[in-house]
């Protein structure tokens, strides 16, 4: 289920980057892009097609353009035929460069869209890659609540009825932000980061037992919500079990795996009357401090060791 292949409509890319449709082709709305990698066909225009991945968007920049300009017309025709016959999803010409006459009939023959941007090749490439990485990221829906607390993305997990939504409302009242309630769509946007958001239909709604559905954005204002947030910390809320051992020092760092990425996580025991919002705030700040290089549990342990060494002397 997690390793499914995702795709994005070429039309969405055109819209996002305001690309000029030099040649649209037929049924452009059916063209899907499945690869987050892109290719500059410099090697290919010279005739080298080993390891060529036809699923990638091809980007024609100044190098390829200048090379092709110095070729005879029949050679250009041959080279475009070789490239377009691989059924690439689209060819993007950067820097607003001129379109070669030979491209049109061959693009038409193989129905390959030709697009153009005014951006420089490197700028367009980096923007497109980061966009595609998000659009094509592996994703999963988790039952939980995602809040942003002091700039940290905190994912609250736990059984239904443990108090995740109530804690979220309390956090919002204290000036933090709600990202998603009940269902959190998590995307692995890079090999080290996860980003969560709410499914569009239920975005910024929250369910409170006894009251029903409330609209957080309407009640608390635009400052109380956020569309997406990275996930820095996972808090597993569970009913307090008498006699169970809970972490007292915080020296051992637990991790929770989501989409193959290990995220720092803590088990928070929940008891009626325990102020969850404050505890979540502290957990977020402590995690932030750890990332910035200070670990309170380690510092305390260090101080103890120094004390022991001194008494030995």
């Amino acid at each position: 289920m997690q390793e499914a292949v995702y795709s994005v409509k070429l039309e969405e890319i055109i819209e996002r980057f305001k690309l000029e449709c030099v040649f649209c082709g037929e049924n452009i709305s059916d063209v899907m892009v499945e690869s987050a990698d892109i290719n500059r066909p410099a090697m290919q225009v010279t005739g080298f097609y080993d390891y060529f991945d036809a699923r990638r968007i091809q980007i024609l920049g100044m190098v390829e353009h200048t090379y092709l300009q110095n070729q005879e017309s029949w050679q250009r025709e041959e080279k475009f035929r070789a490239l377009f016959s691989k059924r690439i999803p689209a060819l993007v010409v950067t820097r607003g460069l001129e379109i070669f006459e030979e491209m049109y009939p061959i693009a038409k023959e193989y129905n390959i869209p030709i697009l153009r941007t005014q951006l420089s090749t490197s700028a367009f490439m980096s923007a497109l890659i980061s966009y595609l990485n998000v659009a094509l990221a592996p994703r999963i829906t988790r039952h939980g609540v995602l809040v942003e607390v002091y700039g940290e993305g905190v994912l609250l997990l736990g059984e239904s009825g443990v108090g995740k939504s109530e804690a979220a409302v309390e956090l919002v009242k204290r000036g933090h932000r709600l990202v998603a309630d009940d269902a959190v769509e998590i995307k692995r946007v890079s090999s080290i980061s996860l980003v969560g958001s709410a499914p569009e239909i239920i975005r910024h709604f929250i369910e409170i037992r006894g009251i029903g559905i409330i609209d957080v954005k309407r009640i608390f204002g635009v400052g109380s919500v956020k569309d997406n947030e990275k996930i820095d910390l996972v808090l597993n809320l569970e009913a307090w079990v008498e006699g169970k051992h809970y972490d007292r020092l915080g020296l051992v760092e637990e991790k929770t795996e989501i989409l193959g990425i290990e995220v720092p996580s803590i088990v928070i025991p929940v008891k009626p009357g325990r102020n969850l919002a404050v505890i979540i705030e502290i957990a977020a700040m402590n995690n932030r401090q750890k990332r910035m290089g200070y670990n309170a549990a380690e510092a305390l342990s260090q101080r103890l060791m120094e004390g022991i060494d001194k008494t030995r002397e």
Binding site: H143, D182, A183, E207
Partner: protein
């Protein structure tokens, strides 16, 4: 893990009140229960989760359960949907 596919064929689909009946039923069981539609899987015990799938009339969904009463849970929920929530 036990699962079954079911076609939603009541008037409004799994929205508003039918959805509340559905999650109420799901909450009666101990097992973990999920609803799956087009590769998106949500907790069947969560109202907003189920609503977020946007299940309309004529959509096929899969109900999955894992736990001590998984078979009973899936069958009861499938029956509830098949009976059109006794509309």
């Amino acid at each position: 893990m036990f699962s079954k596919e079911v076609l939603v064929c009541n008037q409004v689909g799994l929205h508003a009140r039918p959805a509340t009946f559905f999650i109420q039923k799901a909450n009666e069981f101990k097992s973990g229960i999920w609803v799956e539609k087009d590769e998106r899987r949500v907790n069947a015990k969560s109202l907003l989760g189920v609503l977020s799938l946007g299940i309309t009339r004529g959509v096929n969904i899969t109900i999955l359960a894992d736990g001590p009463d998984e078979e009973l849970a899936v069958n009861s929920l499938v029956d509830l949907i098949s009976s059109n929530f006794a509309e």
